[in-house]
Amino acid sequence: MSRVNTVLGPIPTKELGLVAVHEHIGYGMPGSELDTKWWKTPEERYEETVPKLRRFHEYGGGTFVDATGICNGRDVDYYRMLSAKTGVHIVASTGFVGGDTALPFFARASVDYLTEHFIHEITVGIGGTGGRAGVIKVGVSRGGRMTDLDKRIYRAAARAALATGAPVLTHLAIDAENAIAIFTAEGLPLDRVLFGHVDDGVNADRTRDTWIAEQGGRIGFDTFGYETELEDPPFWARPRQERLDHFLRLIRQGHLDRVLASADANCSPLGWPGVKGHTVNYIFEDLIPDLRAAGLDEATITTIFVDNPADFLTLQH
């Protein structure tokens, strides 16, 4: 039986439809909840979030993968409600965006404990919500090199992925040699790993994307829309055409089956200003038209947004 864990329960892989594979309902660094400058009322949150998800659904979007880590304001009760009311499947993450977003309890935990925690969230549920995680988030802390804590989290993620069949999604694909060494040592096939943010403006130049693809890893072009052309671009922005060319180059090199794309947008950011005007719907409003204009046919677009994420997200048994 082919299935994917969503926050409302397992669904058949065939029902995923078009997938936005790296998005956020709302992301905030741990501790940002203490700073009232970011607070919004629940009314404001819904007002910012629901229309974006509804629009996503109307455009033909099927599934929204929320890549928010355990300590980053992940709110599964909220996701369940949003999913039920908008008709968008939402897949939640277990794991951490990076060691520097793991709170002290987890930062001090052993690999065994982290593994057990991830497995619990995938097979039993997240807290008392009843919702289960469908992917495992890991990532590289600020600074460009994997810290010891990052490595413990990667190792625990690999073990939890093997035990549950859930895939691993990374924040940043820099220092990939260390990441791949851990996955290989643990015996996790690299097609169970989506190396994310290979396209971001800060790290693209030092990310070994083709090498990762050649090792069998999946490649995430998942910061589409964070463009230097924006009025107030974030520091990880990149010229629009440059990112698009980068993506098309990977595809033309024969890596179509390895690439995934997403916008990494926040419906309603929790601990940072967000980027005005940038939403998950960049996929429909800008990216897919750009890909068509560049000559990609419908079958190729389906491979990128439907088939590849389906292969990736399906729990392996």
Partner: protein
């Protein structure tokens, strides 16, 4: 000058009404993140029952006020503390502040800026001061009550740059709001005290905790801190382990401090953990100072007047908003 008041979770209380004060304790103590762990349960009814029992025991033995010195990010639950205070009659003073560095969330250490520069003192000062003037945060929901002090701590191996920002921020918040500061030193008590004094905070507005650690006693820190004019807190009364002196040694130290003329600068507490989540906590009762330690002080020849001064008068002088 009007009546001096202390910020409790139920509002300002005249300092004269505090009674015996335990100046460094923990009510609900949660290692940050533990509340998200799959095997940690947070049953509010159970937590309430345990804490209410411990507070009632404290009151039965003559206790009046508990200061929760765990700061804003270690399980503080203002609404629960309000209910506990109403139910038990024990005044509860809650704290703002955070620290040391490794207990902070990533928001303060690796913010989403390029480069990810940790928070400076001024931003911590603003964060803490608003918890006194505008109310303590219930994350993303509301502000409730006013913090009664700013509590922070330095890294054991020695104060880090971010610890220093926390200490300076705490001192500035205390200066701007009038509440006292409670510091847990890292490696060098006098050094860490000097950081907050360097901000212009009078020494009489500062409690230095952890002075019953073996290294503090060996270094003569309790006397040095009191001589500097700050409050010297022996705040692990009841804990006898590798890192701390024994209660008998604490009693001798108190007698020594009084003998040296610092009776008005001594504070006693147990750093008891009412309910601990995600860490072992300290299983000592809030009444331990009253039931077990005061008799030791008397054996050392400390008189009733000095005992009262330490347990009642000193905190009464320290805690009011100035």
């Amino acid at each position: 000058m009007g009546v001096q008041t202390v910020n409790t979770v139920l509002g300002p209380v005249p300092a004269q009404e505090l009674g015996v004060v335990a100046v460094h304790e923990a009510l609900l103590s949660v290692l940050p993140g533990a509340e998200l762990a799959f095997d940690v349960t947070m049953d509010r009814a159970e937590i309430f029952e345990i804490l209410a029992g411990k507070l009632a025991d404290f009151r039965e033995h003559g206790g009046g006020t508990i200061v929760d010195s765990t700061g804003m990010f270690h399980g503080r639950d203002v609404r629960l503390y309000e209910t506990l205070s109403r139910a038990t009659g024990v005044h509860i003073v809650a704290s703002t502040g955070q620290g040391p560095e490794d207990l902070l969330g990533g928001y303060f250490l690796t913010p989403q800026t390029d480069p990810p520069t940790p928070w400076p003192a001024e931003k911590f000062a603003d964060l803490f001061a608003k918890e006194v003037t505008e109310g303590m945060v219930v994350p993303r929901v509301e502000r409730r009550g006013a913090a009664g002090l700013v509590a922070t701590a330095a890294t054991r191996a020695g104060m880090t740059a971010t610890d220093e920002s926390l200490f300076r921020g705490a001192a500035r918040a205390a200066l701007s709001t009038g509440v006292p500061v409670s510091i847990r030193y890292g490696h060098d008590a006098v050094h860490d005290l000097e950081i907050v004094l360097d901000e212009g905070l009078p020494a009489g507005r500062v409690v230095v905790g952890g002075l019953d650690r073996e290294d503090a006693v060996a270094a003569g820190a309790p006397l040095a801190v009191a001589a500097r004019g700050a409050y010297a807190a022996l705040d692990h009364v009841g804990t006898e382990d590798d890192g701390h002196v024994t209660d008998a040694e604490r009693a001798a130290l108190v007698a020594e401090l009084i003998e040296a003329g610092h009776g008005d600068r001594v504070l006693l507490s147990s750093s008891a953990t009412g309910v601990a989540k995600g860490h072992p906590g300290t299983e000592v009762s809030y009444s331990h100072v009253l039931t077990a330690f005061v008799p030791l002080l008397k054996e050392r020849g400390v008189g009733d007047e000095d005992v009262r001064r330490i347990l009642v008068d000193n905190p009464r002088d320290l805690l009011p908003v100035r």
